[in-house]
């Protein structure tokens, strides 16, 4: 094979690989980029049942219910405007309490219930799941601030 041809083949191969990767990445991203949802996002652009998504918001006061089997917990995640029912079977994180931030990976089932597979709570005052920054942590506080302004 001549040198020019060889270079051309290599360059073409590289190009094909890059374009392929770009397409693959774009395809995967398009599918998954809107991976993070707040309860209002779920109302607005309802993701299909069974698609893996990440839900973030605050655990509503008084919403945590533990079922009789001792390992399943039901609660409501809210972001000030919308509410989403969640069920989780597993050990809840140490700082999973009402009124604090939570990020859950899971899927919506056919009835619109969010079935969480993993649950991430706010670790301590220094750690807030990145997606929750800016969501009003305690809605009442937020309101007073707005009033003052």
């Amino acid at each position: 094979m001549k040198a020019k041809h060889q270079r051309l083949t290599l360059a073409l191969l590289a190009l094909v690989a890059l374009v392929g990767a770009g397409l693959l990445g774009a395809y995967a991203l398009q599918d998954q980029a809107s991976y993070f949802y707040t309860p209002s996002d779920i109302v607005e652009k309802k993701p299909e049942a069974g698609t893996a998504i990440r839900l973030g918001g605050m655990v509503e006061e008084g919403s945590i219910e533990r079922s009789a089997d001792g390992v399943t917990v039901h609660f409501i995640v809210q972001d000030g405007t919308a509410r989403q029912k969640v069920t989780y079977t597993g050990i809840t994180p140490d700082l999973f309490v009402e009124g604090s931030g939570v990020v859950a990976d899971g899927r919506l089932d056919g009835q619109g219930l969010f079935v969480a597979e993993t649950l991430l709570a706010k670790h301590d005052e220094n750690y807030i799941p990145r997606e929750l920054e800016g969501i009003d942590m305690t809605s009442s506080e937020h309101k007073t601030e707005t009033l003052v302004q």
Partner: protein, 645 residues
């Protein structure tokens, strides 16, 4: 006085780095011998002073000097000794000082021991090294002084984040930093060679041990980090595609590609420009990794301080280094002569395929990691890219890469016959096909990716030993053994990953003391729950007796720990390792009826993931020893020949 001495040593080291850079730059321009001699001593002196500064910081931590702000923020006098020690780099300032210390030591090492490189290239390399260090010195001295005093002196410190109070901390960050810094050395070599237009086999041979060394440390660091996350977080997972993990994975991918292309350059004098490019990319990735982890752009246990000034500082450094290197590359790439040629079906061809695949995977991880940050910066919208994207995008490519890995070492350099290759690799192909068939027939519920992965791992495990086939094993060079073991390690790790994802069994129950839990062939008897106390924590501990089949009884005790100093709880999983897998038990909360949540996983062959990682690192180590020994012998022979003449 210790703190002040440390700060003075740090300033001196910074001044020496400036001198080192100036000597290199002026010396190269003027071509003066005496400058070249001086730069070596200055480099060594810089290494000595920065090490002194770091040792003094360790000392401050060990004696819990509460007049130093950094110690107050990150340590407490009742903390166990090892965490006082490792707490030195369990924070932002200390870890930056560790980085620049390792860099200073690496520079001193090159100055003292590097003999095979042309003198001018060596000087340019040391100057480039000093230039990188200077940025970090500026960063430390201007915005993150580790020796800052605190008034009034508090009674005690605030303690270390409980998640970081683990022997893993003593090991994990330094290994990753050695890796990052090793890549910075490779980068300096590339810059040196570009400046003096000296890109060739000799340069590749001088650079290779550094690339190998960096790669070994990165491999170990990632393996250790993965195992640490696995047992410390108590989630039973070993890789989460967390941006912080990707920050370490991306330099590793680039270093792996560089490692293979530098071999082509050293052996066949091919892929010159590409290898230079990869050296630049590998270092850029380690800088981006540092930026992601240290800037506070991501929140995790790794982001010690969320301080926009620091983030901007690292971003500026990043822009200067990468931009500078890319500009130099663009200017000089025209003068890099084309290396020697090769056919597509050849060892070089396979290594090019390896490089392409690795680069593409790197690109995909890079996009997935930075895309959410970019979108947020531009539109303010928050989104996450998670495991679904990364697994889908990189999984198939990784499997292709493993297939290439099996075939590549069986090809000849320059040109080979495709039929001959097929002949050589027919047995592994048959084994893979048989494994695929058997797995598809006898297992249920395996995902396509895991099925292919496991079958491929079995075939590649065999194929990785093929390069030793029909060879005189005693005369086979050590670096060939290194390659075989590293490739075998990849197959082992892949098998572990596929088994873990396919065959894990899990049970979650609320159990009363006295209850039994059955998972796979395991029977766990929940005996009691008792309070226990450690040096700086108290805990509730479950006493569980585990039995595999009707084998021996094992006592395992998962805990829930409370750290009063930080008001944090952590869950300490209990692990029981057998040859064929690991039992993983986590204790959850108790309820009003006296029941406790217990989560049990049986993970067949999960340990292979980390054994594989260790094998890969071991292979790299053997290859490095083999290469170093060979180049030492060759130099001695040359010197001997010169002495005779």
């Amino acid at each position: 006085m210790i703190a002040e001495t440390g700060l003075i040593a740090l300033w001196l080291a910074a001044a020496l780095a400036l001198l080192q850079f100036a000597l290199g730059a002026i010396g190269l321009r003027a071509g003066r011998q005496e400058y070249f001699a001086a730069i070596r001593s200055v480099t060594v002196a810089q290494g000595v002073f920065v090490t002194l500064s770091f040792l003094l910081l360790i000392w401050l931590f060990l004696r819990s000097d509460m007049s130093v702000r950094l110690v107050v923020m990150n340590s407490a006098s009742v903390k166990p000794f090892i965490y006082k020690f490792s707490g030195t780099w369990g924070n932002h300032e200390g870890s930056m000082l560790l980085w620049v210390t390792v860099m200073g030591l690496a520079g001193a090492f090159i100055a003292m021991f590097e003999r095979s490189l042309k003198q001018k290239t060596l000087v340019a390399t040391l100057a480039a090294q000093a230039f990188i260090s200077l940025g970090f010195y500026a960063f430390l001295l201007i915005s993150s002084n580790p020796f800052e005093r605190m008034f009034p002196v508090p009674a005690d410190g605030q303690g270390l984040n409980p998640l970081l109070q683990d022997p893993g901390l003593a090991f994990h960050p330094p290994t990753l930093y050695f890796g990052y810094v090793g890549l910075s050395v490779a980068f300096s070599f590339a810059v040196g060679a570009m400046i003096t237009r000296d890109v060739g086999a000799a340069f590749a041979k001088a650079m290779r041990p550094w690339v190998l060394g960096a790669w070994i440390f990165l491999t170990l660091g990632i393996t250790a980090g993965s195992y640490w996350a696995y047992y410390e977080l108590g989630w039973g997972g070993w890789w989460f595609w967390d941006p912080v993990e990707n920050a370490a994975l991306m330099p590793w991918l680039a270093a792996t590609a560089l490692l293979h292309s530098v071999t082509v350059l050293a052996t066949r004098d091919g892929l010159r420009a590409w290898t230079l490019m990869l050296a630049v990319v590998a270092f850029s990735m380690s800088m981006i990794g540092t930026f992601l982890v240290r800037s506070g752009i991501l929140t995790s246990v790794h982001a010690f301080a969320v301080d926009p000034e620091r983030g901007s500082f690292i971003l500026a450094l990043l822009a200067i280094y990468i931009g500078g290197a890319m500009a130099l590359f663009a200017l000089r790439v025209g003068t890099v002569k084309e290396g020697s040629r090769f056919e597509l079906v050849s060892r070089e061809g396979a290594l090019v395929a390896n490089n392409l695949l690795l680069s593409v995977i790197l690109g995909l991880v890079f996009i997935g990691t930075l895309y959410p940050l970019l979108v947020e910066a531009v539109t303010g919208e928050k989104l996450s890219v998670g495991p679904p994207y990364f697994n889908l995008a990189t999984g198939p490519l990784a499997l292709m890469l493993v297939a290439v890995m099996a075939a590549g070492p069986l090809l000849r350099w320059r040109r080979d016959n495709p039929k001959a290759l097929l002949n050589r690799i027919s047995i592994p192909i048959l084994i893979t096909a048989a494994a695929l068939f058997a797995l598809a027939l006898f297992t249920t519920g395996m995902s396509v990716l895991a099925l292919l992965g496991l079958a491929l791992a079995i075939g590649v495990g065999v194929a990785s030993f093929a390069p030793l086939w029909k060879r005189n094993l005693r005369r086979t060079p050590l670096h060939t053994y290194g390659m075989v073991i590293a490739h075998f390690g990849i197959a082992v790790a892949l098998a572990g990953m596929a088994c873990e994802s396919s065959f894990t069994e899990e049970k979650l129950v609320a159990a009363k003391p006295g209850d039994e839990i059955a998972v796979n062939d395991w029977t766990l008897k929940f005996d009691a729950i008792e309070p226990v106390a450690g040096p700086n924590w108290t805990a509730l501990e479950a006493r569980i007796t585990a039995q595999y089949g009707d084998g021996a009884l094992h006592q395992i005790n998962p805990q829930n720990r409370m750290f009063p100093a930080a008001q944090t709880q952590t869950s300490e999983a209990a692990l029981l390792t057998r040859w064929n897998g690991q039992l993983y038990v986590v204790l959850g909360d108790g309820d009003s009826q006296g029941r406790w949540q217990v989560r049990v996983w049986w993970k067949p062959f999960v340990t292979w993931i980390w054994y594989g990682g260790i094998l890969v690192a071991l292979g790299g180590f053997l290859a490095m020893i083999g290469r170093l020994r060979r180049s030492y012998k060759q130099r001695k022979q040359r010197e001997y020949a010169e002495a005779i003449v």
